[in-house]
């Protein structure tokens, strides 16, 4: 059994949150730079230039990339030979969110009661934590800051197994296009297929955090990813809805077995401020 002190986990999480506040996925910078070279649309070019400038200023002046510093979402892969001493992972995650909120500082964007009181928790706690137990003696933490605007545009559909693939594909594409500029395109799209009602939503979020632009290892799913991406970029919405060639930067699908009666599909939408990082202890 390997023992990890809670303070080590807290420090790793706090510094991870701090880092992604000022540095988004570097592959976003590459893709936006490429679009700037290729896209003739003058409005879209205005957007690309602003995004690239934002990456620079945020990193040098330590001003958050986006004022919506998001919900703190963490996927933890906890080795079955690891013992975390002291606080629970949830308590540590909440402390890390609160610590980063104070030290950066981040915007307090979480209300404690969702429906009636809507009083701000003032420190961005609680974090949203998903724990998966895996073999081994390591603790892997995937951390993201997820903004509210793009999250609001996400959706889940319980398709029936008889639904033709073409209908599913069109439903996903049109629903994303209908979000227009509200989710801050260029987008990253995470799609969870299968599992069950809650599981496909978690898969969709997890899919966002995979290496940007990676292909699903199964050819049919990889083809579907590529197809949806191409179609999204051919329908003219473009960066910030201003037109041009880049509505989405990547589409990632994760799939799991599901019930014979079901075909749940969740689509989690991410804005161009794609902030995520992986740390291992």
């Amino acid at each position: 059994m390997r023992i990890i002190e809670d303070s080590q986990v807290l420090e790793a999480l706090s510094s991870a949150i701090q880092k992604i506040t000022y540095h988004c996925d570097p592959r976003i910078t590459e893709q936006i730079g490429r679009a700037l070279e290729q896209d003739p649309d003058e409005y879209a070019r205005d957007v690309y230039q602003a995004i690239l400038q934002n990456h620079q200023i945020s990193a040098t002046d330590q001003i958050p990339l986006c004022q919506d510093t998001g919900s703190t979402v963490i996927f933890a892969e906890l080795g079955n030979e690891v013992l975390i001493c002291g606080n629970t992972l949830q308590e540590i995650a909440d402390q890390a969110a609160a610590q980063a909120a104070q030290s950066c500082p981040l915007r307090a964007s979480i209300v404690s009661d969702p429906l009636f009181k809507r009083i701000n928790s003032t420190n961005n706690s609680p974090a949203i934590l998903h724990i998966q137990q895996v073999r081994g003696d390591r603790l892997k933490l995937c951390v993201t800051q997820k903004g509210g605007g793009a999250e609001n545009m996400s959706f889940l559909t319980m398709f029936t197994p008889a639904t033709p693939l073409e209908d599913i594909r069109e439903s996903i594409i049109q629903s994303i296009i209908d979000t227009g500029s509200r989710a801050c395109p260029p987008l990253v799209i995470g799609i969870g297929i299968g599992g069950n009602f809650e599981r496909c939503a978690v898969l969709a979020k997890r899919a966002l955090l995979e290496e940007l632009g990676r292909a699903n290892p199964i050819a049919e799913y990889a083809d579907l990813e590529r197809d949806i991406l191409q179609e999204l970029n051919s329908r003219g919405c473009g960066a910030q809805g201003m037109g041009g060639i880049l509505t989405a930067i990547a589409v990632h699908i994760l799939q799991e077995p599901c019930h014979i009666a079901s075909l749940p599909i969740a689509v989690n939408i991410q804005c161009h401020v794609h902030r995520h990082i992986e740390v291992e202890l």
């Binding site: 003058e42 409005y43 205005d46 957007v47 602003a50 995004i51 400038q53 934002n54 200023i57 945020s58 002046d61 330590q62 001003i63 958050p64 990339l65 986006c66 004022q67 919506d68 510093t69 950066c104 500082p105 981040l106 915007r107 307090a108 964007s109 809507r118 701000n120 003032t122 903004g147 509210g148 605007g149 609001n152 227009g180 500029s181 509200r182 801050c184 910030q240 809805g241 201003m242 804005c271 161009h272 401020v273």
Partner: protein, 167 residues
Amino acid sequence: MRQISLNLPLDDRQISDLAMGDKILLSGEIYSARDQAHKRLIQILNNHQPMPIDLAKTAIFYCGPSPRRPGQICGAIGPTTSYRMDALTEPLLHEGLKVMIGKGERSPEIGKLIREYGAVYLTTFGGISAVLSRCIVSCETFLWPELGAEAVYRMVVDKLPCYVAIK
């Protein structure tokens, strides 16, 4: 793309001269207001109390900045999604509001109202908040500090880049 520098307040002539897609570099005094602040402003109107902001002379920016560090004028700042304010916009237009700044599409009904009232809806880019923070000359909490990011902030902006989306 036509680019125009404008200073608030805007008169009717300046608004009617704008065309869809114009890039505006907007300067002057503006106020932030998002969901909760809109609800409270409308409550003030419903209670027949005086409106604390002269809506005809300013712009409402749908935003909630991140906190500033010591020495900074403001933290990160950028638009929130405007459609959430659609159900809360007409009373403010009726009160004289002429300029709204946000991101994303509005409902067709709100588009029609904005035109009827001779107002203009400007969009600015989401997620370029470090860039936009450089356009902020001053920023102070104006109303309801207990709302945190959802409070009303009074800001002076210099050449805030926006685009005419509805007029």
